[in-house]
């Protein structure tokens, strides 16, 4: 088992506030609170440490160095902190936890629930809540050591409520005492009695429509679709369902999406008619006419495509944000979004 521990300058014994600009360092074995982890049964192989200001001021560079060390170690678990009420330290722990977690390293950290590190972790790590005072060290270390040990062994971890970590924005499966049917009847009768309860609180991402485009004849327009429209043969292998990516294809000099050049790989509808005329998926033919007539300013030089079927909502939301960012960057003011 390989265990890596992250500390700030103070807990690593590199100095106090005057050492807050300390470069990232790699130390062998357990240091400071790491010894407490060892006492609690978690042997620490490598300690990484960095000054809190150095982390905050040169985050990208510092993270790259810390992550390179972590990659060399390929740890079974990374422990960050605990940071308690220290905002800068908490932020460093949460940010490193996020990046390592996204690279597949199980990570556990601990800090106050209002620490900026909790948000920085973005649900990619287990964050245990602590009080603001370092005096809790004695109780916090054994708790995170035993949890980290289980993560390192690949053992199943329970829900936020069972384990005590802060909810990561994910949902895990647990057994209920009664069937879904019995619970549906129970909750319906409670609701009829005025007690409205739910097991799912939707996150609710409702987008207010923007104001109308003031002058379409001067607007830059783009075409975006979830119809799975791709060049014939699907050269970039867009999945037919559960898409894991979106793609962009050039429209420079293209006036119409011919049936010999484009097709739909969408698995959610019968594509026979669409494949006879892919312009019905991405209405390039009509938009080119409007462009020629001067009724729209210009057409963006690529179109964006993905397949919208069985795609997890989180993935779809991410595609949307990424495509919107590109459109925004390119000065696009209007989009025709074709859904299927």
């Amino acid at each position: 088992m390989r265990v890596v521990h992250y500390l700030n300058q103070f807990f690593a014994g590199l100095g106090g506030e005057e050492a807050a600009g300390h470069e990232p360092v790699r130390l062998e074995g357990a240091v400071g609170p790491g010894r407490g982890l060892e006492v609690a049964g978690l042997p620490v192989d490598v300690t990484l440490a960095c000054g809190d200001d150095a982390f905050g001021e040169r985050e990208a560079e510092v993270l790259a160095r810390l992550l390179a060390w972590i990659e060399e170690e390929t740890p079974d678990v990374l422990v960050c902190g605990p940071a308690f009420g220290s905002g800068r330290y908490g932020y460093a722990c949460g940010s490193l936890a996020r990046e390592a977690g996204r690279r597949g390293v199980p990570v556990v950290t601990a800090m106050t629930p209002d620490s900026p590190g909790v948000l920085a972790a973005e649900g990619a790590a287990y964050v245990f809540p602590t009080g603001s005072s370092v005096t809790e060290m004695r109780s916090v270390l054994p708790a995170i050591a035993s949890f980290a040990l289980r993560l390192a062994r690949g053992e199943r971890v329970g829900s936020a409520e069972e384990e005590g970590y802060l909810p990561r924005g994910l949902r895990t499966n647990v057994r209920a005492e009664r069937t879904g049917a019995a619970r549906a009847v129970d909750l319906l009768l409670a609701k009829l009695g005025g007690d409205v309860r739910t097991e799912i609180v939707p996150t609710g991402d409702r987008v207010a429509p923007p104001p109308p485009v003031p002058d379409l004849t001067r607007a830059r327009m783009a075409l975006v679709t979830e119809a799975g429209c791709v060049p014939q043969g699907n050269p970039d292998r867009l999945p037919g369902r559960r898409a894991n990516a979106w793609l962009r294809y050039p429209l420079d000099g293209v006036t119409s999406l011919g049936a010999d050049s484009y097709e739909s790989v969408h698995a959610g509808f019968d594509t026979t008619a669409a494949n006879e005329d892919p312009n019905r998926l991405v209405p390039l033919d009509v938009v080119r006419e409007l462009e020629a007539e001067g009724r729209i300013g210009a057409l963006h030089d690529v179109f964006y495509t993905t397949t919208g079927v069985d795609t997890p909502v989180a993935a779809a939301a991410k595609f949307g944000q990424e495509i919107a960012a590109e459109l925004h960057e390119a000065g696009v003011q209007a989009v025709i979004l074709t859904g299927t």
Partner: protein, 416 residues
Amino acid sequence: MPAEPLELATYEVTDVSMGSGVSFDAGRLVVDADTLRALAETEPAIDRAAVHVVRPGESVRVANVLDAVAPSVKPDDPETAFPGALGRLALAGRGRTNRLEGVTVLSSCDLVAADQLEAVDFPAAIVDMAGPGAERSPFGSTTSVVLECTVRDGADAADADRAIRRATLRIARELASATIGAEPERVEVLAHRDRPRDDGLPGVAAILQVGSEGPFLDTFLYGERMEGLVPTALDPCEVLDGALVNGAYEWAGSRNPTAFYQRSALIRELLDSDGERLRFAGLIVALGYLNTAAEKQRSAMLSARLAQMLGADGVVCTTFETGNSHTDTMLTVRACERLGIATSAILTETNGGLTDHVPEADCLISTGNEDELVPPWSPERVIGGAEGLESAPVPTWAYLGANSQTGDATWTAVPA
């Protein structure tokens, strides 16, 4: 005159063994693989069949699983079991039915290898009898008789689909037929009675959502595809007694296998509660996975109207599969609430939450996060063809019935 009740005679199976001749005696079920195989092979579109028994704790994965059926027969007229879908047409839900408890018939066919479906349309569908995924499917903890089918080369999709379904029902009927003449463990008399609407109890109806989109994506009512169905009231006992048969084999976790209709936890809960804490106003079947906005709104509106005609103060809405059908559920919730009928709805979640939601849907039952991964497992034996899942974590949606949106499982999701 009130309808004749359903007399559900239950025969508990405590031991299943392979032997010569199908028989049942004092809880011991003997399965004759050759007899059952030959029964399955009477279906012209089935080339070869094999019959296996799988038990909890065995290192076995059943792959490419299609349906699950509770073995049942009408002892007074065996030819009317699963009327329309297998046997002669007769009203289900009346008279004696013999049902085996503790054993299920699972059907398995690699529809991709058989050139019946594209891989993209037939996602992994499994039941694990041991390992980290054993507890996911309700069928991982009870013994099953597995019918493994190979479809005749070049068989038409509708013929292959029908043949597999009939073979599965045939085996379910044959196993239960061994109980004819034996003493049941218990007999329940089940009936849906019209109660006075002014008895002070709230009227509660259920809207059971089903899908019917073509071969391998259908639900059958008395043997007929349900596509085009106008929301319809059924006798709940009909559904418990084989009037509804599944033929939809897309996402396994949120699939409604036939056994979930036969054992319906929702119908049983409503029958049990009838006259105690509610008045069971009735059961409505309605389509989900409808193609157009107009079709979806029409079905939602007519379901709500029918619930109102039944005198429902509240309805429980179930959901068929995921994605598209979640919009059907949400529109149904909205249509009911707008008529003043309170709703609860049963739905599975994903890593990204719900596919659709309306503000009126304020009472939702979670059947779990279908995207959660189960650690990899290498069983000693895989029945039904390879799924290629041995080295990778398996999403919960691959486990048959794990996220049952008819409410027939106990999984739910909580913050993590």
